[in-house]
Amino acid sequence: MSGILLLEQSLNSLQFGLMLFLLAAGLTLVFGIMDMINLAHGSLYMIGAYLMATFAEATGSFWVALPLALVATAVVGAVLEISLLRTLYERDHLTQVLATFAVILIANEVVRLIWGNQSLMLNAPAGLQGPVALPGGMQYASYRLAIIAVGASVALLLYLLVTKTKVGMLVRAGASNREMAIAMGVNIRRLFTVVFALGAALCALAGAMLGPILAVQVGMGENILILAFVVIVIGGIGSIRGAFVGALLVGFVDTMGRALIPISFAKMFSPQVASNLGPSLSSILIYVLMAAVLFFRPKGLFPARG
């Protein structure tokens, strides 16, 4: 096993984990504070990526388009919350599943009607398109480094927001005991809308940053949604810190599994067996991780509710 491969895969893991965190942070807050299962979270990620591709095309600049896409997706999220999701908070989880599943269907078709069936192209910003040399003689895509930088700084900002500001205090109060927060006079309706819009903006950021690496297409939100749910369950529902640790764990296990299992299998078994088993075994790993975490810590690593 070469050190360079290991380093490269660690950076990939970090990048994937941080992007997962952006998705999981919003999901865990909505779930934890509002006690709401929102399957449509992945749709906001898709809408964010589409808006980003459109704005980037129109303005010609990645960095001008990014804030526009974030704000626009936050507005979409707020409208969704006020018009529909608000009526679902009092309903049981199964009803929420059905309603937000319906939202997924509607969002997919509306996106298809507006942007067509073809997947969109989104280019990495100028200046970040080539590889960059890292100490140790390794070449690594500069854009992926930028993703890591953006993801890490947003995680830090979010941490400061939740632990040091008044809004953050209200969010934590809502997550640990909603009834008590209401009784203490928190305007929970407005808080919900703000949290939901913030979660939507984080989704858009993940969609926008991943756009140049993955294809911007209908259905992109559904698969990553399940991973985001795995993350928040591992971390403990409602906990930002849990989402962060869970996202990095899932990022590392998934990326490392994909990179290392086929290689180590090739040494033990015939190449054919290795190429057959490798990819699926690494996909299974994160679910094994989740089952193991739930077995030993049934409420996740960092339970938010005391």
Partner: protein
């Protein structure tokens, strides 16, 4: 009402044949199969209060068993279908034994995790098609000269099996066992205090449900002569769940009604020539209708009907 539906189900193939619309006989058989799968999920989800987000695992396992046995040369339904049911039940036993130690959202996620694991296991079985799935040469053989490839025979066989399963479920739900299962859903602590071994009851319920899903899986593999990993994918689990919620959670007819309504909606909006190019966008009207059901029929379609009659 029920009599009329039964009559409709019985004469349906002849009516369609008379109208020259033989395609709809096979479509109706598909509805009946999904009705069975949804009814099996409704047993654990609606009556048992166990929200299984991995039910496609048992459905898909049943389908794969029929496919794999056919690939190995065993096509007799007398062998392959019981094996499909047994394997699905065994899978449900293992998944249930571990998952039932958790509650609430964590139960949802751990059943999902197991289903996804099985999904990737079947994807990795390159000898049995891997990603592409497994095509079978034809439907299972009966051994006494009746061919299931005849759509009439197939339809009535599926209808008969669905009727048998629904009868069994009806008896089960109204038995002492069914009452205990519902009591556990309503209040676990109280059921424990009365002295019921709730874990064992829930596990048995989960296994029965898995076995029925396995039979439905064996049927769907026969229906299309194909077993693929998409049958185990979490989207399939989600679809089964949507069917149950749409029809009515914990309503006896919830599963079948939901399956029929969802599949018919899909068919109407995706296959009607009048809609022309817009039929590509069938998900939009289906999504809007689902939303309408959530907002105005909170207890599902079967629940809304029951309310009107009482």
């Amino acid at each position: 009402m029920r009599l009329a539906l039964l009559l409709l189900a019985l004469i349906f193939p002849w009516a369609m044949h008379a109208l020259g619309q033989d395609f709809y006989i096979s479509f109706a058989a598909r509805i009946l199969i999904y009705a069975m799968a949804a009814a099996s999920l409704n047993l654990v989800l609606g009556y048992g209060g166990m929200v299984s987000f991995g039910h496609a695992a048992f459905f898909g396992a049943g389908a794969y068993m029929v496919g794999i046995l056919a690939a190995e040369g065993i096509t007799s339904l007398w062998i392959s279908w019981p094996i499909a049911i047994a394997v699905a039940a065994l899978a449900a036993l293992v998944v249930g034994a571990i998952s039932l130690r958790t509650r609430g959202v964590y139960f949802i996620m751990i059943t999902l995790a197991f289903a996804q694991m099985m999904y990737y296991v079947f994807v990795s079985l390159k000898a049995y098609g891997g990603d592409d799935g497994l095509s079978m040469p034809g439907r299972s053989t009966t051994g006494f000269g009746v061919s299931l490839s005849n759509d009439f025979v197939w339809y009535y066989l599926v209808l008969g099996l669905l009727a048998a399963v629904l009868y069994l479920l009806h008896r089960l739900i109204h038995s002492r066992f069914g009452r205990v299962i519902e009591a556990i859903r309503e209040n676990e602590i109280r059921a424990t205090a009365i002295g019921y071994p709730i874990y064992r009851y829930q596990l048995v319920c989960f296994v029965i449900s898995g076995a029925i899903a396995g039979l439905a899986g064996a049927l769907i593999a026969n229906q299309t002569s194909y077993a693929g990993p998409s049958l185990l994918h979490w989207v399939q689990s989600g679809t089964l769940m949507i069917m149950v919620i749409l029809g009515g959670v914990g309503r006896f007819w919830g599963g079948p009604v939901g399956a029929a309504v969802l599949l018919i909606l899909e068919e109407v909006f995706s296959g009607t020539p009048i809609l022309g190019a817009y039929s590509l966008h069938w998900q939009l009207p289906v999504g809007l209708i689902l939303l309408a059901v959530v907002l105005w029929a909170p207890r599902g379609i079967a629940g809304a009907f029951a309310q009107k009659h009482s």
